[in-house]
Symmetry: C2
Subunit: 219 residues, 2 copies
């Protein structure tokens, strides 16, 4: 490849290639969040990056490879902004609430140019089949699983009442911001995510025990 042979030391080459790939994927994720994952072709991405199609083919052999790498990159960005910061928070309701707040902030902050990459990709691929759909479903399952585990831990820590159905409760928490995202982005309702944050907190408090630590909306 041209870039690898441009006079840099051999030791730098692999990491430069990785960095190039990473930068390409960052643009790919943003583009897919606006135009859809199906519209993400090697040609469309080459235009956006002012790169040659053959340069891109060296990184991704096919449209499907590119789509799969884009889903993996979006998953890593989600983990970095939503999942990992919550692991440092006290287990139980504080961690469950941190997951919710991180998630809503990530939608509000528009980490991806076109809103939540996964919400858009889920609705785009939910009636299709194949490896791209499977990769999106795996990412959404992981997120719903993380919320369900956080609810289970909060029950075990005696922060939430043992009588709640953890799967149903996690599904509610998972559903509210996806719907509000639709209000926030499409209806340009700036208050939609503020409302949903209040709704989720009230919902958690409605099933909290007397010994549950206090949690509140950030800032």
């Amino acid at each position: 490849m041209g870039t690898a042979a441009s006079g840099r030391s051999k030791a730098e080459s692999p990491s430069k290639g990785d960095r190039t790939r990473e930068s390409i994927l960052r643009v790919a994720v943003d583009l897919a969040s606006v135009e859809g994952l199906e519209g993400l072709t090697i040609g469309r991405l080459a235009d956006e990056l002012s790169m040659s199609k053959s340069g891109l083919f060296a990184h991704f052999g096919s449209k499907e490879d590119l789509q799969l790498a884009t889903v993996a990159a979006a998953r890593e960005i989600f983990a970095e902004h939503v999942l990992r910061p919550a692991l440092t928070v006290e287990a139980g309701v504080p961690r469950l609430w941190a997951l919710c707040e991180n998630w809503i902030q990530y939608i509000e902050g528009k980490v991806f140019k076109g809103g939540c990459f996964f919400a858009a990709a889920s609705f785009e691929f939910d009636s299709r089949s194949g490896p791209v759909r499977d990769a999106i479903a795996a990412a959404m399952k992981e997120w719903l699983g993380a919320l369900t585990r956080a609810v289970d831990v909060a029950i075990r820590e005696k922060h939430l009442k043992a009588s709640i159905d953890s799967h149903q409760f996690a599904l509610e928490i998972y559903s509210l911001p996806i719907g509000a995202h639709c209000g926030f982005q499409l209806l340009e309702d700036k208050k939609a995510l503020k409302h949903i944050r209040t709704s989720i907190l009230a919902r958690i408090q409605s099933v909290a025990t007397a010994t549950c630590p206090q949690v509140k909306i950030r800032r």
Copy 2:
């Protein structure tokens, strides 16, 4: 057009044209619910219907006209299945709950081949601009407005506590099935919509007054 000149009486011609257009749009709505509204081109639809592109151009002058007609057709189907049947139900919580049940049944029953046409179209077009996005936003605003009005009426009828914020409460009800739809369709979680129905009913009951008529899950 070939079909209009095929020997039928003149009086029938316009309604046959309307029926043809309606049948075409029914296929267009289903196709768009699976493959996305952006993928809905005159060529793609002509393939699906085994019709000539010129035949379709006689009905819809451009891709955008076709997309706008498809959104209007989907809106009519939604009104027929969700909005109008609820108008015959007692005003207040019974009507609010009828809207919710009709909506969830319409998602479950897969009125559209690829799940809810509007949920998919919303996420597909939320970062775009233009008349198609505006038509989808108008449809979603109408639905959120119908839910908000139903909540307001339920407060006026003294079925729901006057202390609730009707917009926030309507947004919660609007958000839950959109998120669960994602679980139902993508994660193939058959229980997702059952869970969400229970969640919405519990949420309505949590803010109901002592004089609110009893409502329950159908069947």
